[in-house]
Each structure stands twice: as structure tokens, then as C-alpha cells.
Symmetry: C2
Subunit: 207 residues, 2 copies
DNA sequence: GTCTATAATTCGATAGAC
DNA sequence: GTCTATCGAATTATAGAC
């Protein structure tokens, strides 16, 4: 349904406005949360009036859903790239390490989209959560498979359930956004490596 | 400022109603979040009309703040009791284990107050968060001290920052409420022990 | 495509009867 | 102490001019 009869720059103009709205929405959602993010403020950041948003989107929830969906996609892309870089033959241990560093880096340095997803998903309407259930489930399943592959090749212990470890690892990583700047004197790479090292190698002292 | 000139049963009546409102608010807040929790619904659960709430509280935020404060207190009490049970002379390793099991157990099977605190704190107004800053900071500091004591007595490794591990441990534990029922076939005690074992002993396979 | 103006709800909060 | 009734503010969404 691409309007090929229109001039190319006219197509780009419409797309650019749409992108500007999504960028603005991501920024406000990441900062204020779902309920406190008003269309008036989103429009202001996008340098528009609130009513104008409805030419590009059907509703507030349509905007929110697309922002969260992009956020999930960005995170998955970052992890995919890191796993590709570390190679297919790496151990599950090394793959998990690489994925943790990549994801923590992505959600702290990257766009507002991933942060909007982390902050707003639980608060968003039931319909929105249901529409995003598939990509979010695949995101979680990716971590489970990563841990299971390590359990199969013997680089990770197999007496704990991968599902449980995955859930808690995701929650711990997502929380980093909320405090790493406040704790002071912490680099994001340092936090990511400290975290990966603790989950993977544990907190106990072997000596 | 206790109204000692009133009959005892009259005092209890007022207190009971107040408690009923807080119980109702905790239930709705834990289930719906801050913004979606309306005074109409809280009042309905408490078997009242919305306007009647204002005889007992000054505002919605006053109700929310007290619910969250009670939630923090409940959690701290549960941890204190567990640490007392394990004894003053236990290693930092054993104390951390006991605290994790106690806290995860408390937030999953205890009252709605702790769950309301976990779910609504970030979403609540700035003034509410500031009013709760002290008890929440002490809650976090308790975990930091627990980990540091293990680092001092040699039962926990000391090449990672206790602040960082504490933050991530808290986030991971808080997340349990949101998924442990959905994952199926999991007992809360099993989750708590699996989690404590992973954080403390790590995911790596030593063999 | 964007604006202004406003309709339609919803919700927190208040007032006054009982 | 609780109820009913209602105010006032905020917000999503729509209508129509330009």
C-alpha cells in the first residue's frame, strides 16, 4: 500500500513526522511513565499541537504500543549483534556474558525506546500488553535458550531452572537504568561486567 | 494526642475503619498500580462511598503514602526476624541466604502492602517518593551492609561493589511477584532457594 | 497536514444533609 | 461518620477552518 504515485520527498516528509512523534513519545514515556505521559506534552516535544497527532495515529495507545514494540526490537537487535560477534562456537558461558553486557549497554546508552518499554509495559493497558505478548515472550525465550545452551555444554550448572534464572536476570538488568547514575563513580561497562561476573561466577568466595 | 476521653470501643471503631481503607487501598494498588487505582474502587472494596474516605484521609496521595510505608515496614520486619533466627554469629554468606529467602517469601505470600510498594513506588508522585526516601534508603542500606559483612568475614568475594550487587539483588527479588505463578510448577520456597543459591554460589560450573 | 476549539469522560476533592 | 450531589481540573478524542 505504499503510495508510489507520490513524489519521493513527500513520502519521506510524512514518515519523518511520524518518526518525530515516536521519538517524542519515547522520551516522555521513558521519563514520566504511561499514565503521566500526556498527549499535550508528547506533541509539545514533537513541536506540534495535541490534536495534530491524530492525523498520524488513531489513539494514544497506538502511539504507546509502537514505541514499546520498537524498544523491544532495539534490544533484541543489540543482543543478536553481540552474539554474532562472539561467534557460533562460543560456550554458553561466554554467550551469556556477551548478551548481558550488550543488553545492559543498550538500555542505558541507547534510545529512549528500550527505557520506555521497561518502564511502561506493566502500566500499559491490557490490550497493549496482549498485542506485545509475542515479541516479549520471544525476548524472554532467548535468554532461556542462552542459559540452556550453557547447561548443555557444561559451562553453566544445570541444577537450577533456566526459566527462573532468565526471569531474574532480566529484572536485574532492567533495574540498572534506574540507579546506575545515582550511585556515582560507576561506568556502565563496569556495571555490566560486574553483574555478568556475579550471575555467572557467583558471589561466594572459593578460597 | 490519643482521645482518651472517648469510650474505648469508639476509638477502636475509628481505627478499624481506617485499617479497612488501607487494606482496600493496598489490594487495589497492588493489582492496578497507582494511576489506575481510583478512589471509587478503593472505597467500593472498603464498602464505602468515595467521598467518605476524606473523613479519614486528606487525599489520595496520603492513603497511598501510608500503604507504601506499611509495605516497607512489613518487609523490613520479615528480614529482621529471619536474621534474628539465624543468629548474630552466622557468616555473611548464611545471613544473606536467610534474608533472601525471608524477603522473597514475604513479598509473595504476605499482605498486599509489600506488593503495592514494589509496584507503585516509581509511579507515585515526587512528593510521595521523597517522603519515603528515608525508610527506602535504609531498606537498601540493610542489603549493602549484609553483603559487606560477608565480604569482611571472607564468605563473599570482595572484588565487586556491594552497592551494585544489592541493587540488582533487590530488583531480581522484587520481580518474583510478577512471574512465579505464571511459570507453573514452582513453589515459592524453591524459587527463593534457587535464587539465593545462584546469586551466592553463581551459575558457573566448577567441575 | 496542522491548527483552534470543544465535546465527552473521568477523577480527585468539597459541601451539606442526615 | 457516611451519604449524595456536584464542582473543577485534566485528558483523550473529534470537528471543522485554513
Amino acid at each position: 500500500m505504499t503510495p508510489t504515485h507520490l513524489a519521493p520527498d513527500r513520502i519521506r516528509k510524512g514518515e519523518r513526522t511520524r518518526t518525530r512523534i515516536l521519538d517524542a513519545a519515547a522520551e516522555v514515556l521513558a521519563c514520566k511513565g504511561y499514565a503521566a505521559a500526556t498527549l499535550t506534552e508528547i506533541a509539545a516535544v514533537a513541536k506540534m499541537q495535541a490534536g495534530s497527532l491524530y492525523y498520524h495515529f488513531d489513539s494514544k495507545d497506538a502511539i504507546v504500543e509502537e514505541v514499546l514494540r520498537v524498544g523491544i526490537d532495539h534490544a533484541r537487535d543489540a543482543i543478536r549483534a553481540a552474539l554474532h560477534a562472539v561467534g557460533e562456537d562460543a560456550s554458553g558461558h561466554d554467550k551469556l556474558m556477551a548478551a548481558v553486557v550488550a543488553y545492559v549497554t543498550a538500555i542505558t546508552i541507547d534510545s529512549d525506546f528500550t527505557q520506555a518499554n521497561i518502564r511502561c509495559f506493566e502500566e500499559s493497558p491490557r490490550a497493549t500488553r496482549e498485542n506485545l505478548a509475542v515479541p516479549l515472550r520471544e525476548f524472554a525465550n532467548g535468554w532461556v535458550r542462552l542459559i540452556e545452551s550453557g547447561q548443555r555444554d557444561g559451562s553453566l550448572r544445570n541444577d537450577v531452572e533456566a526459566r527462573v534464572i532468565a526471569r531474574m536476570t532480566i529484572a536485574a538488568m532492567n533495574s540498572v537504568v534506574g540507579w546506575w547514575r545515582l550511585e556515582g563513580q560507576l561506568t556502565i561497562d563496569g556495571v555490566a561486567r560486574m553483574f555478568a561476573s556475579t550471575v555467572v561466577d557467583g558471589l561466594a568466595n572459593d578460597t
